[in-house]
């Protein structure tokens, strides 16, 4: 699988994503935000960071970069787009995903390992996990508080488009298990077509035991399985 990682000025997880693709048997390539061209891409990653310094609102300026025009067109044609952390914020601003990411309830930057629960495995992003599987992945954000109008959130739930929730150590959703205050503990969602996923936790930073967790591998394995066909491992 050929995966393009878009680098914005201020991205800081583009190398993690590049490596995560390599570790998953894919061929990664960077695309600078001023560049165009996704014709060779099987999938695109919008990485974490602080694109354009998060000025105005996180992701609000990045969405107007030339590369994003191509990413939006790629997504509209059904191309898989994985939007992690700042990438999730950019994808929401660009209208690829519903809702918005507001300031954490604590008004603090959160940087710690967070428990998550896989809510559905019937997607190109989560097929390598078990339903209800509890994961631990790093989170690193100040604006991760997912909000949308109640109808939108009901629709996400009904369609099975909530992929991940924040949970506590017992695997249950709770106040303390949802530190940023996201609506219904939502940590990751996908669009209606299922080809765009946004999540605040970092699967790209949970790929190797040496960094503390390998729970992020499943996201990349799921994508590889989807792109390579059911016969591939």
């Amino acid at each position: 699988m050929k995966v393009v990682v878009v680098t914005f000025p201020g991205s800081n997880c583009d190398q993690d994503c590049h490596r995560a693709v390599e570790l998953s048997g894919g061929e990664p390539r960077y695309l600078w935000h001023r560049e165009r061209g996704l014709s060779d891409a099987d999938a695109v990653i919008l990485p974490g960071g602080f694109a354009y310094g998060d000025y105005l609102r996180a992701g609000s300026i990045a969405r107007f970069s030339p590369a994003m025009e191509d990413v939006v067109a790629f997504a509209r044609q059904g191309g898989p787009v994985m939007a992690i952390c700042n990438g999730f914020q950019i994808a929401c601003e660009a209208g690829l995903l519903p809702g918005a990411l507001m300031r954490n309830r604590t008004v603090r930057f959160h940087s710690f390992d967070q428990y998550l629960r896989i809510e559905t495995t019937d997607t190109m992003w989560t097929s390598a996990y078990e339903p209800g599987q509890i994961l631990s992945m790093p989170v690193a954000h100040a604006e991760g508080n997912y909000e949308a109008d109640p109808d939108t959130i009901d629709r996400l739930e009904e369609d099975g488009r909530v992929l991940l929730r924040y949970v506590d150590a017992t695997g249950a959703t709770s106040e303390e298990g949802n530190p940023n205050g996201s609506a219904r503990s939502i940590a990751g969602i996908m669009n209606e077509q299922g080809n765009v996923m946004g999540l605040m936790p970092h699967p790209d930073r949970a790929m190797e035991a040496v960094v503390g967790s390998v729970d992020g591998r499943g996201v990349f394995q799921s994508l590889a399985r989807h792109l390579n066909g059911p016969g591939a491992k």
Binding site: L56, R57, S60, I61, F64, C92, E93, P98, G99, A100, M102, R103, N104, R105, T106, V107, N145, E147, A148, D149, G181
Partner: protein, 93 residues
């Protein structure tokens, strides 16, 4: 062409949790300002726009609000024309 000074106020939508506002509310209470009922934090953006009329300048600012300056999911905006002046030749237009 006239140069208009405009003020854009972007505020979190009423009814949505505003964590910075809540934190400031707490801080004010702990300073003894007990009568403060609610605090909401927004931003103010000052624009200078050259346009044939104030109406046109305001229209452009509102379009900027919809496209970039505010997030329609979580924020409301308000545009006011603060003042106007002549556009002089050789200025940084």
């Amino acid at each position: 062409m006239t140069r208009y000074q405009l003020e854009v106020r972007v505020v979190p939508r009423t009814g949505l949790l505003d964590p910075p506002g809540k934190a400031i509310h707490h801080a004010l209470h702990s300073l003894g300002y007990l009568g403060v009922e609610d605090v909401r934090v927004g931003k103010t953006i000052f624009l200078q726009i050259d346009a044939p009329s104030g109406r046109e300048a305001r229209g452009r600012a509102e379009e900027m609000c919809r496209k970039l300056l505010s997030n329609p999911v979580t924020e409301d905006y308000e545009v006011s024309v603060l003042g106007e002046g002549e556009v002089q030749d050789g200025t940084d237009s």
